[in-house]
């Protein structure tokens, strides 16, 4: 950009034409955003719809009825609760296990770290369908009954690698001299870890937790294979598509969306004030 100030007149024409391309890409980026947001908008809108029949497909009038009757469908409510309970359990376990792996991979050079990286890469790139299917074959051949426990086991399995990746990235950028300073001041390894290292990697651990929670609460494919007769929120929606989705699903989707966006914005703002002050 600075070059244009000194550029001879012949070059400005070119620059102007390039500027047009940039504007075009700006508009394009917004069109992509609009396209991505369109179905979300439709979902929110149809939570306010007042359909006469069973199918919530055509706009018939505005109502807040479904927000009042949000929990009127007992099985939908219990599916949502089950999803949340599993997500909390799975994200706590996978955060604990994934943080251990991520910290070890970021901090130490040890035999087997290559294998660990490989298995993490494999879990993140294997088709969900195949992971779900293979877990089903394991549980079936061991005679383990499917239910909330097997769903949680599966969710922990596919979340660990994501948590570990996030934590490893943070540990790799850690300034070791801070820990050395703590050691110089007489802190032992244990104290140094909990008083110095852990607070520094905590944001990454928290991101890992949120990621694991989001992956778990939204998972359909792996859950479908490991659920047996248990019904989570995505499974309930899946089952209801053939008979028509009740507007409550749209309302719940809207509230989850709003809560997710709110949490994301708040955590982002919380980590930012230092920059604003500068």
């Amino acid at each position: 950009m600075t070059a244009t100030l000194e550029a001879p007149p012949t070059r400005t024409v070119k620059v102007r034409r390039r500027f047009g391309g940039v504007q075009l890409m700006h508009v394009y980026t917004w069109l992509i955003v609009l396209w991505l947001v369109l179905p979300i908008f439709v979902m929110i809108l149809f939570g306010f719809n007042d359909p006469s029949g069973r199918y919530n497909q055509t706009w018939q009038g505005f109502t807040l009825k479904w927000y009042r009757e949000l929990f009127a469908l007992d099985d939908l409510t219990s599916a949502l609760i089950l999803s949340l309970v599993i997500a909390v359990a799975a994200s706590i376990i996978s955060t604990a296990l994934g943080t251990g792996i991520g910290y070890a991979l970021g901090r130490y050079k040890f035999r087997g770290s290559g294998g660990m990286n490989l298995i993490m890469f494999a879990t993140m790139s294997s088709p969900e369908l195949v992971m779900g299917a293979s877990l089903l074959t394991l549980f079936v051949s061991l005679g383990i009954g499917l239910g909330p426990i097997t769903i949680t086991i599966a969710h922990v399995m596919f979340s660990i690698s994501f948590v570990a990746t996030v934590v490893r990235a943070r540990v790799l950028t850690l300034d070791r001299s801070i820990e050395e300073a703590a050691a110089d001041l007489g802190a032992n390894a244990w104290t140094t870890f909990w008083k110095v290292t852990f607070p520094i990697i905590l944001p990454a651990v928290f991101s890992g937790f949120m990621l694991a929670f989001a992956l778990s609460v939204d998972d359909f494919v792996v859950t479908n294979f490991t659920a047996g007769t248990s019904i989570t929120f995505p499974l309930w929606i899946w089952g209801a598509t053939r008979v028509g989705l009740p507007p409550q699903v749209n309302v719940m989707g809207t509230l989850i969306f709003a809560a997710g966006v709110l949490i994301a914005v708040l955590t982002n703002l919380k980590s930012r004030p230092k920059k604003n002050a500068a």
Binding site: Q57, Y103, A264
Partner: protein
């Protein structure tokens, strides 16, 4: 003593999670491979007989769906690269202070359940919906025009659902490019197009590769989009595997199909890596 502790520390940290992945990722894969070579049924149990004909039968029975899934996967991935690149490029080079905001906007779909957003598309694209109905009324589209149930609807849904997974890695690769490198190329009289082709594009390749890795595999094995937006003529291999497991309980065939799918996808990804000249897939993926 302290040294022993230190050498043991990484193993103790890795052990619980590593065991979990071993037990519930590696062992199930082995179980599935073994089951695909077994004979029997769910009531009387299965016996390992090394019956590899299951593979031959499964593949010949479902080759249409298998090939269709790969074709959809390739088409969707190409569309994803084409759609994602300009947006990632603009955000990386011209996003300025708002880069994070634009990335956040691209991630908004992830705050809505995958199944729900796909169903939302069905609502938009349905024959008497608010998109097609007015166009038909106005005579802009023939009365029998429909999108739902066509390959276009399925591929469109796949592209929609996985677009952020393509934009982000390309953005990360482009964002790393030092603008001075591009300026240097321009100073050396490279035209904007040459600078793009010779400088930016090669540096973007790892990002595109990571994007393909993150989209091609889940897109080809997806069964939600073709189930919600497609019809019997767009059935993908994921739907077959799903129903073989969950409806027919035909475990050997289903396991054989899953394993075939995974092998084919891995071969595809490695072939693509070689074609790109990316020798070490792991290194690229680990970045």
């Amino acid at each position: 003593m302290g040294r022993v502790k230190r050498t043991l520390a990484p193993y103790l940290l890795v052990l619980p999670g590593g065991l979990w992945l071993l037990m519930f990722f590696a062992v199930p894969m082995a179980t599935m491979l073994s089951l695909s070579l077994q004979e029997g049924d769910i009531v009387n149990g299965y016996v390992f007989t090394g019956h590899w004909q299951t593979y031959v039968e499964a593949i010949s029975d479902y080759q249409t769906q298998l090939i269709r899934s790969l074709v959809y996967g390739v088409i969707a991935t190409i569309i994803l690269i084409v759609l994602a690149f300009p947006a990632a490029y603009w955000i990386a080079f011209y996003g300025g202070k708002r880069k994070a905001t634009y990335l956040f906007l691209l991630l908004l779909p992830f705050f809505v359940s995958f199944v729900l957003r796909t169903i939302s598309w069905r609502l938009i694209l349905t024959d008497d919906g608010f998109l097609l109905h007015p166009l038909k009324e106005a005579g802009l589209l023939p009365e029998n025009f429909h999108i739902l149930g066509t390959p276009a609807a399925v591929i469109g849904g796949l592209v929609y659902n996985f677009l952020p997974f393509m934009v982000l890695p390309i953005y990360v690769a482009l964002e790393r490019i030092d603008p001075r490198v591009v300026e240097a190329a321009r100073d050396l009289y490279a035209s904007p197009i040459t600078a793009f082709r010779k400088v930016i594009l090669p540096l973007a390749v790892p990002g595109v590769f990571a994007g393909v890795l993150m989209t091609f595999i889940p897109v080809s094995s997806d069964y939600v989009n073709s189930e919600v937006l497609g019809s019997s003529s767009t059935t993908m291999i994921g739907q077959v595997i799903q129903s073989q497991y969950l409806s027919s309980s035909n475990y050997p065939t289903a396991s054989a199909l899953s394993f075939t799918l995974m092998t084919v996808l891995l071969i595809g990804v490695f072939a693509y890596a070689r074609a790109l000249g990316t020798e070490d897939v792991m290194k690229v993926a680990a970045r």
